[in-house]
């Protein structure tokens, strides 16, 4: 790596740390920065007594810390999956949201929340299965003689997403009133109601999938050259692509099943990373997408919980930033992206 790129690389890689500390101070209950540092260093007091510090501690450890960790994990899941899908499909305009994976995971999770017994892992399993099903539908609708073009993938994704969203609305209609509120809360796409349970349910799965994709970051480069070239270079394309797609689905569906559908992160972040780093090399794009994705979703969530006295769904904020960025990408490429 050239020297200057190396400095930017490490700067961006460490960026989540200061944003993490900053986010602990943000919220309707203000906690001064020195208090945050003191509490983090001091840990949990073994003999708690009622005091101002105790309230701070509870706010930090019970409410803010899990929410912040979940935002970081979600940012990793959405942006790393976006970067991987873009490489595998040689298509800079796709991510989990556009290909219908998110809508599929949403439907699977909603089904489980509404109708299945509250059993550890069941929601995740249902979200994973439906997410992969949605993706398969998109892929087979788009495929023509073994190739799926940029346009047909995006269009097929729109159709599949519409279909699964309609099914999701039906579920809301048939859900019993006592379960309806939890489905609706979750659907808004928000980390607002999340606690340690959500972090523990999704975190290990997301980190495991991230590890696999991280280890395959060189293979992603070769896969992005197209099937025939990747084969000629010594890659078992069908197997490697399946591994990437399964791990991608795992990380996206794990996050969606605890936080609902949040769009655009997977599209915006990898592009931003390629621009900032000046290379499409996934050995750089994957780790930096993870850190910038985490920072982006965390900052968006900070805004969501501090902008107004009500909680805004974080998905609204990512869309307000993401959709114009997508338009900018299309314009900048002069439409040539669509013709490939």
């Amino acid at each position: 790596m050239p020297h200057q790129r190396k400095s930017i690389f490490f700067l961006l890689l460490l960026l989540p740390l200061p944003v993490f500390l900053l986010s602990l101070t943000v919220g309707s209950y203000h906690i001064p920065f020195e208090e945050v540092l003191a509490i983090l260093v001091g840990g949990i007091d073994p003999h708690p007594s009622f005091s101002q510090t105790q309230i701070y501690r509870d706010v930090i450890f019970m409410i803010r810390l899990p929410r912040i960790l979940l935002s970081l994990l979600g940012g990793i899941a959405l942006s790393v999956s976006g970067a991987s899908l873009q490489s595998v499909f040689k298509n800079p305009l796709v991510d989990s949201y556009i290909l219908g994976l998110s809508a599929g995971a949403g439907l699977g999770a909603a089904l489980a929340i509404a109708f299945l017994p509250n059993f550890v892992g069941l929601t995740q399993l249902s979200a994973f299965s439906f997410s992969f099903l949605a993706f398969m539908l998109t892929y087979f609708v788009a495929r023509d003689r073994g190739q799926a073009s940029t346009v047909s993938l995006v269009l097929a994704g729109v159709i599949v997403t519409a279909l699964f969203s309609a099914a999701l609305s039906m579920i809301k209609f048939f859900t019993s009133p006592e379960k309806l509120s939890s489905v609706v809360y979750w659907l808004m796409g928000s980390m607002a109601v999340s606690g340690w349970d959500e972090v523990l349910q999704s975190g290990p799965l997301i980190l495991f999938a991230f590890l696999i994709i991280g280890l395959m970051r060189w293979r992603l480069n070769v896969l992005s050259m197209g099937d025939e070239e990747a084969k000629s270079l010594g890659i078992n394309v069908e197997r490697d692509r399946l591994v990437i797609l399964l791990t991608t689905t795992l990380m996206v569906s794990s996050f969606v099943s605890v936080s609902g559908i949040i769009g655009w992160v997977g599209l915006v972040i990898p592009h931003l990373v390629r621009m900032l780093m000046g290379t499409p090399d996934n050995r750089i794009v994957i780790p930096i997408s993870a850190s910038l994705g985490g920072v982006f979703l965390l900052l968006a969530d900070d805004v969501a919980r501090s902008l107004t006295s009500y909680e805004l769904p974080v998905g609204v904020i990512t869309t307000i930033i993401g959709a114009p960025f997508f338009l900018y990408l299309l314009r900048r490429r002069g439409g040539s992206t669509w013709r490939q």
Partner: protein
């Protein structure tokens, strides 16, 4: 001389119609075989069958004593380097990163390229004379440079056999000769066998040891260029009338204008 690849009675069909009809050929170390013939005669299909990208209906491809279609992709990629026609990727990797991809077959599943892989890639770039452009994004290279970068990538694979699909397509007059002379030099210096498809009989005359003249999925004639590229055979295969002109260094083929008037 050591045989690198032998294609034995290979037939391939696509949707019932025969595209290749019992092809047999051999290439030994350090020699260049050129597939010559009109569009649609099966040159690219044959290259893809040899590289196991297509599965033949019958017959086999034996590379270094091993059946190409029974090897795993990474095993085959250590024996065969494939140079596709120059193209543009939606992801503009640097030229060095592109060439480094040639090392993939030598890496484990979760492994990243090491310093040694970088050295081999840089050496491949210097063999084709592109060292100065290694940090340039691949899509900013000229057509000829792109073709050379793809050849460097195949060299980095350290193959025994190099396959090139129309390496002179879209290149200007000078670059056509530059690319072909580099291909021949690589074959000679590294003892690599080369099979390439070409459109121009005069390129075949200048740069190949053996010419396989193809027509309708079969090999019409095969041998040294002065025996294969004759007035009668070229006229038969291409269905135009030509003259063969002798000059001080050899001979060349030129179309007779009366065909077109």
């Amino acid at each position: 001389m050591e045989t690198i690849v032998s294609v034995e009675d290979l037939s391939f069909s696509y949707g019932g119609a025969f595209k290749l009809n019992s092809i047999s050929l051999k290439v030994s170390a350090g020699t260049v075989l050129t597939l010559l013939g009109p569009n649609g005669c099966g040159k690219t299909t044959l290259l893809k069958c040899i590289n196991a990208l297509l599965k033949p209906e019958s017959g086999k491809v034996v590379i270094f004593g091993k059946n190409a279609h029974e090897l795993r992709r990474w095993e085959l990629a250590r024996l065969v380097g494939y140079v596709p026609q120059a193209h543009v990727s939606p992801f503009p990797y640097s030229t060095l990163d592109l060439v480094l991809m040639g090392r993939t077959a030598h890496l484990d599943f979760f492994q990243q390229p090491s310093n040694l892989d970088y050295e081999i890639a840089e050496k491949a770039l210097s063999i084709v004379g592109l060292d100065r452009l290694k940090h340039r994004p691949y899509d900013q290279l000229s057509g000829g440079e792109r073709q050379l970068a793809l050849i460097a990538r195949a060299i980095a694979q350290e193959p025994k056999l190099l396959l090139l699909d129309e390496p002179t397509a879209h290149l200007d007059f000078k670059n056509q000769f530059l690319v072909l002379s580099i291909v021949r030099r690589i074959a000679r210096e590294n003892g690599i066998g080369v099979i390439m498809s070409l459109h121009d009989p005069n390129h075949a005359i200048l740069f190949s040891d053996i010419v396989a003249l193809m027509k309708n999925g079969s090999i019409f004639d095969m041998g040294p260029s002065h025996l294969v590229i004759t007035k009668e055979k070229i006229e038969n295969v291409y269905e135009i009338s030509v003259r063969v002109v002798n000059h001080t260094d050899g001979f060349l083929v030129a179309p007779s204008m009366e065909t077109f008037s």
